[in-house]
Symmetry: C2
Subunit: 459 residues, 2 copies
């Protein structure tokens, strides 16, 4: 075990050395490539096994810029772990090299006692920037924006703007857009680098700029900002405060993380648990337990109702022993169709394809689909039931499947839309939720049909 | 109904008129905003109710550029519908204004007989470009790339490169990067506009460029290309053929659609159906039926096995009538835990967080979580069972839940990883799959425990 760690450390140090050289040569493509490779291999967490002094010497050799490149790609909690293995001065130097929006996420994860020490060791200006960004909720537009934008005055000419750009390009996260601000920092317009370069040098900025740019409010949800940016195919989105002052920009690379995170949360909810707040591999069994037990208990309550319903029909079940035998297959099929419907409808709503105003179209489509599915499954179930218990019994289970499949599909289509109209996130209707719901109601359908078709009269 | 269509048409025509003005003024932000609004409102499909001549006159007034702006944001099938309502000349003019990668997707959806007529009516150069792009599979890197990149020679100086850029900027999809090619179109290096503008005008391109750019092969899967671009935070990714010639670039805006589509497919699979090949609202009940019936039938087969298992234990069930009563709640709880585990693990694998080499860590984590979940649920079930049938019976159902929850979680963790090692997409292990699996195996566990703990001996 320990020899394998040592061997791996050797390889990682070689990659770190290449990274340092790439950074020194200014070859940022190569540096990205190497940094990405280190991240994929969980390389740095392996290094944390090294003795602290050796590690600190190694970090010195690799250099701040190269380490910044790697840390900004890691999950913020992993990056914080590594910073905690450094001196405050070293950690501060590295954070200064990281884009402020990413640096904020990392420092927020550092142990509270180490936290302030690092901020104090940073350049006062950089530290102030981080403190400001940390004030915004992490899931808001303010929480993912960077203040490193390029601002110019409307009185400039194009060539002056390019000269201004040249001075700040090092610090800015993107120079694809420059923002035109008045003296109170109100956003007057946006100008793409593209347009700035390809125009006549003496054109006034005021005439070149777009004076009605798309913006997002600093307190808006990060998902709103992400969708706005992707739907409008923008490379960066300006973030403004309530007075219309430009406080930051959100760049396309941050948006990808937001959308991936939102899709992950939807998937976890659809599977029947509360979204994990951490990457899966970092999540402890205690966290997993907490995220799952809430829904399990809620579903358990629903299943207690199912139990009571089943108990209620005990007389019928006793009169015809075959009835119990078919319970799992009947409610299982209903649950499967419900799960298919619910996941499809919820995803269509999440990506903005299906909207509450499509209510009738969605329910109609699902009902017709379920009719066809129910007919096929019902026929098969009829055959299986008839073989086991005669044609009347076959008819009972066949008809139950048909009704149950339609019921599951219609409920699975209506519930998410209804919840969304009530402004509740439709993703709470998970696959397990709909299965549990169909279990109880399915038994009522089954025993009611059985009572009628098989002429049973016990209750 | 018809009056509402007419009223809505009136509003839409007003928005189209504003769009025309925005395009005429060169205000692309406003044009994007208006185009996006039209798309959100399903506006153009409403217009298709207008008489054909009126519609054609309307399109003439709005202008090719504005319509191109709208069509390129629509789903390609909707865009194709609208093109089919136009004359070939009009359709050709509009397609020429759309980025070639998007235009290719649209023309691929146009009815075959109209298809060739449009291509013939286009400028020969544009038509040739589309024909070339249509040759690549739609889900490959070649299928989502655009040939509209800016190429320069390594012999140029920075100022000459900027001048070259200025000439082609209109046509290029992005000018954020320029690509340095030799005479045989081999990709030698990449240069960002950023670097080009902010350097001394007489610097040679050969020295400024990055000479080892990240590229993707033209036949690579679109998801590989999308992940490469987002993981490296690039704005565009060069696509090369087997000889290293640059054939196109993939831009960040295309990647978002790819990743959203892949997440949707994963969600649909997790819900237990084959991925829809169309947007949900366009999918007919027949398509929905086809995508769902395959898995339903497969699961039905599994449930037949469950039925046979249940039947096998008929004697035990008859001896203790309470046993049947608890079947739905027991297998339901197992299925719920299985669904929670499977969705979490599969998502963690899809986003690259969990990998096959984390096998032991994942299974260990899930087993420990399940032990805690099983202990809580088992205790509750013990109480419920004891109330109904005495402490021995309570012990039977309580212990069954504990074992079943652990079994479901461990299977739910192992199966996706094992499949992925076998190079099968782990998303085939859907929530319904794991529920159905737990149904059958759960009955074996239940009746075995019951036989032992309740001293039953019928079989």
């Amino acid at each position: 075990m320990s020899t394998s760690v040592e061997r791996d450390s050797g390889q990682i140090i070689t990659v770190l050395e290449s990274l340092r050289q790439a950074v020194a040569k200014g070859d940022s493509d190569m540096a990205r490539e190497l940094a990405a490779r280190l991240v994929e291999e969980d390389a740095l967490s392996l290094l944390l096994h090294l003795p602290e002094r050796e590690l600190s010497r190694l970090f010195d050799i690799v250099g701040d810029e190269a380490l910044a490149e790697v840390l900004s790609r890691l999950d913020e909690r992993d990056a914080a772990d590594i910073l905690e293995h450094m001196s405050a001065a070293q950690a501060a130097d590295i954070l200064e090299e990281i884009d402020p929006d990413d640096a904020t996420d990392i420092i927020a994860e550092v142990e509270p006692e180490f936290h302030e020490t690092i901020l104090v060791a940073m350049e006062p200006e950089d530290a102030a920037e981080l403190r400001e960004l940390m004030a915004y909720p992490p899931e808001s537009a303010g929480g993912i924006m960077t203040p490193a934008f390029v601002a110019i005055s409307p009185e400039m000419r194009a060539d002056q703007a390019v000269a201004a750009l040249r001075r700040v390009a090092e610090e800015a996260e993107t120079v694809n857009y420059v923002y035109v601000l008045d003296e109170q920092e109100h956003l007057l317009g946006v100008l793409s680098l593209h347009r700035l370069v390809l125009t006549r040098p003496d054109s006034p900025v005021r005439e070149l700029m777009f004076d009605d740019p798309i913006t997002v409010a600093v307190e808006a949800d990060q998902e709103v900002a992400a969708r706005l940016l992707t739907e409008r195919d923008l490379l960066a989105l300006p973030v403004v405060d309530s007075e219309g002052r430009l406080v930051g920009i959100i760049t396309a690379d941050d948006v990808h993380d937001v959308l991936e995170q939102e899709a992950t949360e939807d998937i976890e909810r659809l599977g029947g648990s509360a979204p994990l707040s951490e990457p899966y591999l970092r999540a402890s069994p205690i966290l997993l337990f907490r995220k799952r037990i809430v829904w399990l208990l809620a579903l358990f309550m629903a299943q207690f109702v199912t139990l009571a319903i089943y108990d209620h029909y005990e007389g019928l079940a006793a009169e015809e022993a075959l009835l119990s035998l078919f319970v799992p297959i009947l409610i299982g099929t209903g649950g499967n169709v419900g799960s298919q419907t619910v996941t499809t409808v919820i995803r269509a709503m999440a990506v903005g394809e299906a909207r509450p105003r499509h209510f009738l179209r969605i329910v109609g489509k699902e009902a017709m689909t379920a009719l066809a599915l129910g007919a096929v499954m019902g026929t098969l179930m009829f055959v299986r039931g008839a073989v086991k218990g005669g044609s009347d019994f076959g008819l009972t289970v066949g008809l139950t499947v048909l009704v149950l499949v339609m019921w599951a599909a219609v409920v699975g289509a209506i519930l998410p839309i209804a919840l969304s109209k009530l402004r509740i996130d439709p993703a709470v209707v998970s696959a397990p939720f709909i299965s549990s719901f169909v279990d109880g109601t399915g038994l009522v359908i089954y025993f009611t049909l059985a009572g009628a078709l098989l002429h049973l009269n016990a209750t």
